[in-house]
Symmetry: C2
Amino acid sequence: MKAFKIPEATIVRLSVYSRFLELAEKRGIITISSGEIAEGVGVSPAQVRKDLAYFGEFGTRGVGYNVKDLLRHTMKILGLSHDWSVVLVGAGNLGSALVSYRGFRERGFTIVGVFDNDLTKIGKKLLDLEVLAIDAMPRIIAEKNVRIGILAVPAKVAQEVADTMVKAGIRAILNFAPKAIVVPDEVEVRNIDLSVKLEILTFNLCMQDTDFFR
Amino acid sequence: MKAFKIPEATIVRLSVYSRFLELAEKRGIITISSGEIAEGVGVSPAQVRKDLAYFGEFGTRGVGYNVKDLLRHTMKILGLSHDWSVVLVGAGNLGSALVSYRGFRERGFTIVGVFDNDLTKIGKKLLDLEVLAIDAMPRIIAEKNVRIGILAVPAKVAQEVADTMVKAGIRAILNFAPKAIVVPDEVEVRNIDLSVKLEILTFNLCMQDTDFFR
DNA sequence: GACTGTGAAGCCATTCACAGCT
DNA sequence: AGCTGTGAATGGCTTCACAGTC
């Protein structure tokens, strides 16, 4: 078996293709070409083919891809053949919103525990989940065999909570805190930094206006 | 004036440096080296220097960078010398959370209007803002000279709302809908796709486990 | 001695262009 | 004729390594 190194950008796009294919399947489309996928998600056809080719030959020359097959393959590749249980720490505004976020459930992610150390939040109900103290997290993680954690806490405590998660067996963390967290090599972290995204926009708006760099 | 093309990754990091420098300034640190910044945000020192060098010579050889100066420069570059007014469409869970999100205000983004077409949401108060019908958006955008819009609506209506935003004068959109939106070239769009980020994690978890690609 | 700024090298991702299949 | 799969070419970002400065 060869030692493939797959670009992260490819995985990101694969995830987008996958959701686009779900839509196509719902609409009853049987066959789809790289060009049609490309158009639907806003990339080049060559990019679509190259991305898919990392994982196998899923298409038929002269025809295209079978929507159902390709959807199944992309889901399998992304590790979405089964649902995933997730814990969330931080029952503030963002955390509460994420518990209710439909996009997660639609793709097979179920939040099975919400934790916070703020006494005013513990005991609160979010959907059908009661907010628990962080002490209770290791038990839930073990019981439900959870490997993914979402961090929606203030930057100050992000590292501390991340450490607790890792100790309890979490292997992948989605971090919303605007702060780099340090974890062992075998733990995956991805950051979502909301302000950074807005700042890319302001930078570009200013570039357009000033002509400074053109 | 030369035709510089600055990598988006550089802008992303610049935004992270900027926030790290704020922290350093608050702690009373006067001077900082590329190595210290690098360590604080998790990149290489050469990367930090290269990124900054796109915009000028801010440091002193043998010494490092003056925290206050560099912070001011990064803010200026990112277009954060003044505050930005922002409108938000979609007063669901995510939208409501974003209105209360501190990270935006801390970096100078003020949400000045929240809109939704769901009658059960119109009239609701989020912080001190009343949710208005989308009809009212163009007026607010014009009155308050808003150029940035946040899209926190279901995928189905994302394109339609985006069109309304653009027609009303919005020049940059932060899109949380899991759907590519099409806008004129002069309008900037950045997407935040929460499920995609989780799916990168599941992909990597599966890679670790299966050894399939190693 | 320490640290920045930068050309050059190395590396990685995207695009091109076409052979191969249906 | 149409579309995939892919080696080669291109383009772009990151790392290296060191000259320049304090």
